[in-house]
């Protein structure tokens, strides 16, 4: 049974990477259509990934430089493997277990930390600037996200994603996005920061610091980071689906709900300019955190 579980989780991981790359292509297409141009094909990210994977590499900057893309990929894949895709289905629940939400919140930071160490070793001046910004930004969006997750944990008296999904069964109005609207608002705003979508895009900042932390990364390194990023995005969509949109009863529903969540940062990112770092962090520490606190207080009073 264990081997079967590993096999199905591996299949799900490959599917997750492919779905993430597909969503990346769709986002490029939608962005292009919003700017009144045709844009690349929706399979463009697969082509890019293959090209990057087969490009030569002649750079060496030290051990951590080599390990950082691996950290990124492992951080993304690990997060993905801890989130159940379809709760209750033994083939599609990956390695989720009781209490996994706390482990998950630690795991989500792993990729960023590995990236920070590797980028700092690359020696390019843009990289430490990007890393500093990324870690500060993380301190910003983690706060409202953690508050809203804690609200759900207290409300459902469980720390497992499976338990939270089961607590939302029985109709659309049982979804946490309707029962805890303020916590959901806090979490969905912090999702913008996690995805690096545009008002909070201070880390990569292409017009300002080249591309930030991965400035010195090329070819195969970049392809690992690229696929890690894709699967990490899918993991976050799945997590938000499970936490707020009532989970999924089959793969089709998982596809529809994650696609809807994927559209939210995409539409925001295409119409906004960019914050500075301190504006961004300050925003996360005020409005979304306040929303989260409102629901936290409400939970205590209603109980």
């Amino acid at each position: 049974m264990m081997w079967a579980k590993i096999f199905y989780a591996f299949l799900a991981l490959l599917g997750g990477i492919a779905y993430g790359l597909f969503l990346g292509g769709v986002s490029r297409k939608i962005t292009a259509r919003m700017q009144n141009r045709r844009g690349p094909t929706i399979w463009q990210n697969f082509i890019d990934l293959w090209k990057l994977f087969r490009k030569k590499t002649a750079i060496s900057h030290g051990v951590m430089f080599y390990l950082a893309p691996m950290f990124r990929l492992v951080g993304g894949a690990g997060t993905f493997l801890l989130v159940p895709i379809v709760v209750g289905n033994p083939y599609l629940s990956n390695f989720s277990f009781g209490g996994d939400l706390i482990v998950l919140m630690y795991f989500m930071v792993l990729g960023c930390l590995g990236m920070a160490l590797g980028a700092a070793e690359s020696g390019h001046p843009h990289a430490p600037i990007g890393v500093t910004r990324g870690l500060s930004q993380m301190a910003g969006y983690e706060l409202p996200f953690v508050i809203s997750v804690v609200v759900l944990m207290i409300a459902d008296k469980t720390t497992s994603i499976e338990g939270i999904v089961r607590a939302q069964q029985g109709g659309i109005l049982h979804w946490h996005i309707f029962t805890h609207p303020f916590a959901a608002a806090a979490a969905f705003i912090s999702l913008l920061g996690m995805m690096g979508s545009y008002p909070f895009q201070v880390v990569l900042a292409p017009q300002e610091i080249a591309i930030g932390p991965p400035t010195e990364y090329s070819s195969t390194f970049l392809s690992y980071m690229f696929s890690g990023r894709s699967v990490f995005a899918v993991a976050k969509y799945l997590l938000f689906m499970n936490l707020f949109l009532g989970g999924a009863s089959n793969l089709l529903w998982a596809f529809v709900k994650t696609f809807v969540i994927f559209l939210w940062p995409l539409f925001i990112t295409n119409v906004f300019p960019r914050f500075r770092l301190e504006q961004s962090v300050l925003f996360f520490w005020t409005w979304p955190s306040l929303f989260g606190l409102i629901d936290l207080v409400r939970i205590y009073l209603v109980r």
């Binding site: 141009r37 293959w50 750079i59 060496s60």
Partner: protein, 192 residues
């Protein structure tokens, strides 16, 4: 140099072999995913903005601008090249990872154009860097640039865009030409 020593390779790079089992797929993917380093050397870079934005939309060919030479495939020499810029261009080109391609815009890189008798603009680019596609005009319109990129894609697809291989094979010759014109060569010998 000194403390920067670790960040550059100090020996000549090995001759890289090209191909293998997936050669056809590689060429197909490379042709359809050209990342251009966002670096304008002369007046031609003004034509690159409309090429890459909404009106002419080079992204439908799979191209995009990247901010760092490490991740780029294509270096566009956009117009005249002064000796001072040539030094930077060589540095950028050598930091790009193989396979890499050079596209020269306009008349100036071909024969000097209207700066043919200038004291500090170079006349022939291919003495210093291997060029894969030339696009003539002064300046070429975005349509011409897109046509040039279609041609580059065709060359890559058929495996004929091998300027980067020639550069490594004939590095000594290129280096000699470069050093002849760049008097203050204050950069590492090999920038890979």
């Amino acid at each position: 140099m000194g403390k920067d020593k670790n960040y550059f390779l100090n020996e000549k790079p090995e001759k890289m072999t090209y191909g293998g089992v997936f050669r056809k797929i590689n060429d197909w993917a490379r042709a359809r995913s050209l990342w251009v380093v966002a670096y304008g050397t002369g007046c031609g870079s003004i034509e690159l903005r409309p090429t890459f934005t909404s009106r002419f939309d080079a992204e439908r060919l799979g191209m995009r601008m990247v901010g760092t030479p490490r991740q780029a495939d294509v270096l566009i020499i956009s117009g005249y090249l002064t000796v001072k810029t040539l030094k930077r261009v060589i540095r950028v080109y050598e930091q790009m990872q193989s396979p890499k391609y050079v596209v020269a815009l306009g008349a100036c890189p071909i024969n000097g154009g209207m700066y043919y008798d200038s004291y500090n603009a170079i006349n022939r680019l291919d003495l210093y860097l291997p060029v894969d596609v030339w696009i003539t005009g002064c300046m070429p319109r975005p349509e011409a640039i897109l046509a040039g990129f279609k041609r580059l894609q065709g060359l890559i697809d058929s495996g004929k865009a091998d300027g980067w291989k020639k550069y490594i094979e004939n590095l000594d010759w290129y280096r000699e030409n470069q050093r002849k014109i760049i008097k203050n060569w204050r950069m590492p010998n090999y920038n890979w």
